[in-house]
């Protein structure tokens, strides 16, 4: 069957000028930017980027293959290590997919705790993302120091809750793993009260900063139609002005009970991405305040839920959440046995990199690292 012409999106092609030769540079896999083992094969015409091909796989740790050999629950700690900034949201996404597959209900109290941990994760992720972006701009130290100072506070809270700073492994199918420690909610409330001050501080330092504006406004511009077609999600999509937040669209968990706005950008450039992240942190603080007010009593996980010998009926399910980096989805196929037949992670970081080439072509080479930093990726998730 023939298809009529349809619109398809490809990266722009620019002709090199005739002076001099093209310079081909392999940026990475070891390079001074703080994002880990990632390589970009860049062709330069003077200072201008003509071609950019990302090369992945330097951290391909076979998460999917290992998960297909392990039981459902055994993959939960591995999800922590996908996007190692946001283990709580990763846990949640996986739990949602399994809950969809097996039809498990989650008790009220666990829902609230999930929201609280997820929003804390979002705040610390966005803070670190901004810190790293500035680090890549050459603001060596200060913003990242500030971000990590705040992150440490949140990590302490997580450690108290789950026993580990980074790899929380906290959620379970149909709830959470352990009951809250004594006074935990009060401690979270104290931290949440301190957060607006921190965000103000970051904004005072950066938002009106002339250097930041000069380096980021109009750089790495992404158009909304391309962003949608390329499956971009998360703050990067919303910076282009497309209103798509899975917390609002799917209303998973109990997000329909909270009032929050979805910050949108206008230009889709790096500055807008920065701004959307800052505003999202503010909204998260709002959600946290609402959630902390009325955490109900009750069980943290359905006591009837089987932990050992968990065997969902044959079938498949795709579950997704709005992770801090974008849409994090898990696709599971069950054949009725104790381990998934197919286990797939939909990595927002990898898919958000699809348009890296489009954003960088025609720009100065100095902006490549900046554009790359503004995507906010974690290599553990890109390569899995």
């Amino acid at each position: 069957m023939s298809t009529a012409a349809f619109k398809s999106y490809r990266p722009p092609v620019i002709e090199p000028s005739n002076e001099g030769e093209l310079l081909e540079v392999a940026m990475g896999p070891h390079h001074p930017s703080t994002h880990g083992v990632f390589r970009m094969d860049v062709a330069l015409d003077g200072e201008i980027v003509i071609k950019l091909k990302p090369v992945f796989g330097y951290l391909h740790r076979n998460h999917e293959k290992i998960a297909e050999k392990a039981s459902y629950l055994a993959s939960m700690p591995y999800t922590d290590r996908l996007d190692y900034f946001c283990s709580m949201t990763n846990n949640w996404a996986y739990a949602i997919a399994v809950e969809k597959l097996a039809g498990i209900e989650v008790p009220e109290r666990a829902q609230y705790i999930r929201v609280i941990t997820a929003e804390l994760t979002r705040i610390q992720n966005h803070a670190s993302a901004i810190g790293f972006l500035l680090q890549e701009m050459g603001a060596s130290g200060t913003p990242l120091m500030y971000a990590f100072r705040e992150r440490e506070k949140i990590l302490d809270i997580f450690e108290e809750l789950s026993g580990s700073r980074m790899m929380c492994n906290y959620m379970r199918f149909g709830g959470c793993r352990v009951e809250l420690p004594k006074d935990w909610l009060e401690k979270v409330a104290a931290i949440v009260d301190g957060l607006p001050r921190f965000i103000d501080e970051i904004e005072a330092l950066l938002t009106g900063n002339e250097i930041l504006m000069a380096r980021t406004q109009g750089v790495g511009v992404l158009k909304p139609d391309l962003a949608v077609n390329a499956g971009i999600t998360g703050p990067m999509l919303r910076a282009t002005g497309v209103n798509y937040d899975i917390r609002k669209v799917d209303r998973y968990g109990i997000y329909d009970r909270f009032e929050f706005r979805v910050p949108l950008g206008d230009h889709g450039d790096i500055y807008d991405r920065y701004m959307v992240r800052v505003l999202e942190m503010r909204e998260s603080v709002g959600i946290l305040r609402q959630a902390l007010k009325d955490v109900p009593a009750g069980p943290i996980v359905d006591p009837k839920q089987k932990v050992r010998g968990f065997r969902p009926k044959p079938g498949e399910a795709y579950g997704r959440i709005e992770g801090p980096k974008g849409e994090l989805g898990f696709y599971l196929i069950s054949d009725g046995s104790g381990n998934p037949y197919r286990y797939r992670v939909r990595p927002p970081s990898l898919i958000n990199l699809t348009v890296l080439e489009d954003m960088c072509i025609g720009q100065n080479v100095a902006d490549v690292v900046l554009t790359f930093g503004s995507v906010d990726i974690v290599l553990g998730e890109v390569d899995r």
Partner: protein, 219 residues
């Protein structure tokens, strides 16, 4: 949001020749999928994306699944003539259902805020006819994901602008996510070996001993 049946009907009215089937998902998630014949894949995909009501402009997830050959045994009763007598003999007959590779796409609509619609295509077999049309021209988000499927499952996407290995190195020959992939035996000795690793470690140890003995004999 239309149900999967309605979407199927819409495809049938728009593209009457397309071979599309609905596959029920027995799980409680109720995410049924449309199986499209590879030759009609592109046309159906363009319809799904550009239809104003469906407007599935966002292909969220693209992945591959490897279905091995399935062996089913069946008992068949047959009458046979043995020594001039008619006897009813039970026989077991083996059926081999050939395996295939499958590509799965989860489509959502950002404009209409609905989804998912699941779109699958299947190859003819697992060995030599592993070609499927690429969806990258329709949804750019498939670009890296299809490269990943090509790398890990070995599905060749026709029409993909840049089909190379993405995660493994270029010299690598296998498709590691296939169910019958045998991974390299690089377990040597391990501090606390157990299960399969212990078996492999012992094999390595035995080989090592043999090599040592051989060396001693020649000395």
């Amino acid at each position: 949001m239309k149900t999967a049946e309605e979407i199927l009907a819409a495809i049938k009215t728009a593209l009457p020749e397309a071979k599309v089937e609905l596959v029920q998902n027995p799980s409680v998630s109720g995410q049924h999928s449309l199986v499209v014949a590879p030759e009609d894949g592109l046309a159906v995909a363009v319809f799904l994306r550009d239809d104003s009501e469906l407007a599935l402009d966002f292909c969220s997830n693209a992945t591959g699944v490897d279905w091995l050959d399935k062996e089913t045994t069946e008992k068949v009763k047959a009458t046979e003539v043995v020594d001039g007598e008619e006897k009813v003999i039970e026989k077991t007959v083996k059926h081999i259902q050939p395996g295939y590779l499958e590509s799965v796409y989860h489509l959502y609509s950002m404009r209409q805020k609905h989804g998912p619609v699941i779109f699958r295509m299947r190859t003819a077999n697992r060995t030599d006819q592993v070609e499927l049309p690429s969806m990258t021209p329709v949804w750019r988000s498939c670009e890296f994901q299809e490269r990943e499927i090509f790398d890990l499952f070995g599905i060749v996407f026709k029409g993909h602008p840049d089909l190379r290995r993405i995660l493994m190195w270029d010299e690598f020959e296998d498709h590691p996510m296939r169910r019958d992939y045998v991974d390299p035996d690089d377990y040597e000795y391990e501090p606390t070996p157990h299960d399969e690793v212990l078996k492999r470690a012992q094999e390595h140890q035995a080989q090592q001993n043999e090599a040592k003995q051989a060396a001693e004999v020649t000395q």
